[in-house]
Amino acid sequence: MSATRRLVYTLGAIWLVLAVIGSFVIAILPFPPGAASNVAGSVTDTIRLLTWAAWPVFSLTIIGVIGAVLVRRSDPDAAAAPARELRGNPRLASTWIGVVGAVVLALAIVGTITLGNDDAAQALGLGGRTISGDNGNVIGGALDEGGYLPVQVIAQQWQFTYRYPTLGGFESAHLVLPNNTNVEFHITSLDVTHSFWLIALGVKADAVPLHDNVFLATTQQLGTYRSVCGELCGLWHGAMDDNSMQVVSAGDFDTWVAQEKALDAPIMKYLPPYSTTYVPDPAAYGS
């Protein structure tokens, strides 16, 4: 066996070990955003899948580069190699293109199925956009016909406020959600385009004036989370960053709702009827 072939076998063995160990490591790495909601879980699974698919290719590339350096390194005193020795290896090139093409095609199929078929997405654990099954944490009167808790996210320069239409329509500057609950976010804006981003819950959608963006997610973990605006929206865009969003138990949620209703009592008569969008009145402002 030639020294070059021996080196190739050695590098191949190293790659195989790296690929296997890497796959196990990727399987247990805590990829963001986590599992605070089913959507976050799906995002995490997707990142894990992509990393898992990319790792063998990436490690093979690195091993290949190292191998090329070791095998093809030139003697500084040697004459320049003739041009014909620098030509590509058709077998290697076609193998490389074939492997990469297969990986890309496989991921394209997964992505297309995920985007186009909710059931398939659920089966693959990649969707997170549709919620099925029983809601195990029923809150009296709070859920709509589909079993979701509607929560309206109202953006304006420079704060998000939240309205709970099935709980009397009160509004709050704090977002609090019950755990193990299907939530139907209705996201809109009163002025410019914002973007509502609940990072840990994997919820991100534009808040557009006169538009109702709907995002479905199921809460899965108690905790305090961060919400930010993901769209540059003016002077204090950076201040639309709140670390007080909470996912709480059903009992704590009911207590919080009662407190917020009591706080809002003086202004309930002023809040407009619930609507998916609210029309700014140019005649009243900026004139």
Binding site: I154, Q156, Q157, W158, Q159, T161, E171, A173, L190, D191, V192, G234, L235, W236, A239, D242, L263, D264, P266, I267, Y270, L271, P272, P280, P282, A284, Y285, G286, S287
Partner: protein, 204 residues
């Protein structure tokens, strides 16, 4: 390097220096600040400091004399753990809140304010001229506009207090889209520090 190349390099260097100087000047420019002095009173272990502000329909000086604004400034430096007792002489007429939710007084001591000596926890959102809101501290105070039929020079005196923590910088703003003459009332003074936006720096 030939002469032309050297000139090109020099031009880029000059442009970089000018851009850097402009950015530095822009970033570090801010309105003058009030350094609030602690009074002899204390509350909850911290000092009570008084800040007096006036809201006017036109500030009357500077580059934008016709812009609405808070006077004398919107930058405050206050002691740690202090209670800010803010008195606002509100001289502007009502233009109304875009989101009526902000007609609720929140985050102040007692959850109330006084308007001309009368304790209130909310106002009619259509009567708001401005608001003083510190979202990072959960504070929101709507400011009652001066009645259109009130005599010239009429003001509404609004007083409220809230506590600040041991440290931090908190932005505050008006939630009434009161920038007359701009798109939906959101431009100009609503987007410029020193008019309807400011910050509270809590330090030693």
């Amino acid at each position: 390097m030939n002469r032309r190349g050297a000139l090109v390099v020099l031009a880029f260097l000059a442009a970089g220096v000018l851009l850097g100087a402009f950015a530095t000047t822009y970033i570090h420019s801010s309105p003058s600040a009030i350094t609030a002095q602690a009074s002899s009173e204390t509350n909850g272990g911290g000092p009570v400091v008084d800040i007096h502000l006036t809201t006017v329909a036109a500030v009357g000086f500077g580059e934008h004399p016709n812009w609405v604004g808070y006077l004398p400034t919107t930058y405050f430096k206050v002691p740690p753990n202090s209670t800010l007792r803010i008195t606002i002489s509100q001289q502007d007429g009502a233009s109304g809140l875009r989101n009526p939710y902000y007609s609720l007084v929140r985050g102040t001591i007692g959850g109330t304010m006084t308007v001309n000596g009368k304790t209130m926890s909310s106002i009619d959102p259509t009567t708001a001229a401005h608001s003083f809101a510190v979202p990072g501290l959960g504070v929101n105070v709507p400011l009652l506009g001066v009645d259109d039929n009130a005599p010239a020079g009429a003001t509404n005196t609004v007083v409220f207090s809230f506590k600040v923590p041991a440290s931090g910088i908190f932005h505050w703003q008006c939630f009434v889209p009161c920038a007359a003459g701009t798109l939906y009332g959101l431009g100009g003074p609503m987007q410029t520090l020193g008019f309807m936006d400011g910050q509270i720096e809590v330090g030693s």
